[in-house]
Symmetry: C2
Subunit: 201 residues, 2 copies
């Protein structure tokens, strides 16, 4: 059965990004190298978790995940991932600014959705068919879907460092009190992978 | 070699207690049953971790961990644990108010330390001898020792629920950016145990 999954890398104190995001520093002043070392420097140790992130039939992401811009689109901007992004599936980008779909190499097409998270999820479900839909982040977008009770499986990748941040994008911010069901946990030297399922209603 | 350990139970969003602590609700409005179910309702599943918490030669705790009072001591108050507390060792309570030592049954003696966290830790180290010193909480006290770089082994017990709190006692609050070394992780149905060591200087 098709489910909605979500992955996020956080510091031990729960941050997915700092508040001061920019083109040069898309995750802001959080130590991005430490946050993602498990994936980029130690992918062999964490191959199953890396593969699981991309094993979806469609993706939903927030505007900041695609672009650091706040205003209307710079139509020359084609995302952080180069001409062949790793998604290889439709990606629905939440935004307030219309933009035509952007077809990339390798099967990824970015669709820009201006009618809200619920509509984006519906479109992603339809595009994914029998496959899963993945909420690709950032934390704010993920928290919105968690608050709405729409994430079936949440995979938290806890990087082993304290960010030292006072503010930023924190996993679970604004999410109401919710029980979770831990279904898997695995540690490697550079990350702790914790998988939660939504408690049955 | 004797080391300084610390244990804390937190929600998935990192809270060890809510801000509104009281005698009736020493952890405030956080869901205390969910926070501690792994220990009190499912201790058999988590026997090793429960035993490790109490395996120290001396303990340090914050004032709120001993008593919810803010002013001078009510000398009739003898802690939350009845006449035979589980510590069975000297416990050094950080406070601004002097009070004579309080000898309980079973080997626990509460000592009230008014000259600060460093002095309390020194006294605990001396009392523990070859055994470990345990920082028993709460989160504020633990964060002070973490910020000072004095915790050698931190054991975080993540209970599977989102607290829904906006404010409260959060693990790592005020702790500067710090790398951690994850040395063990174990999941049971009601908790995820993550053990960190301090990175070598």
């Amino acid at each position: 059965m098709s489910i909605v999954t979500a992955d996020i890398s956080v510091s031990a104190d729960g941050f997915g990004a700092a508040a001061d995001q920019s083109l040069a520093h898309p995750f802001g002043s959080i130590d991005q190298d430490r946050l993602h070392a498990w994936m980029f420097d130690h992918g062999d140790d964490n191959a199953a978790e890396v593969a699981a992130i991309l094993d979806a039939g469609a993706f939903v992401m927030g505007r900041n995940m695609f672009s650091p811009g706040r205003g209307p689109w710079d139509l020359d901007w084609r995302g952080w991932w180069g001409e062949e992004p790793p998604y290889r599936a439709p990606v629905f980008v939440l935004t307030h600014h219309e933009r035509p779909p952007l077809e990339m190499d390798g099967g990824t097409t970015f669709h820009f959705v201006t009618d809200g998270p619920e509509a984006a999820l519906e479109r992603a479900r339809a595009a994914a068919g029998e496959r899963n839909v993945s909420i690709a982040g950032g934390a704010g977008t993920l928290n919105a879907y968690l608050a709405a009770g729409q994430v079936d499986e949440l995979r938290v990748h806890v990087a082993p460092f304290v960010s030292g941040l006072d503010a930023g994008s924190r996993l679970f911010a604004g999410v109401p009190a919710t029980p979770l069901v831990p279904v898997a946990v695995r540690g490697t030297p550079h990350v702790t992978h914790v998988t939660y399922r939504r408690a049955s209603a």
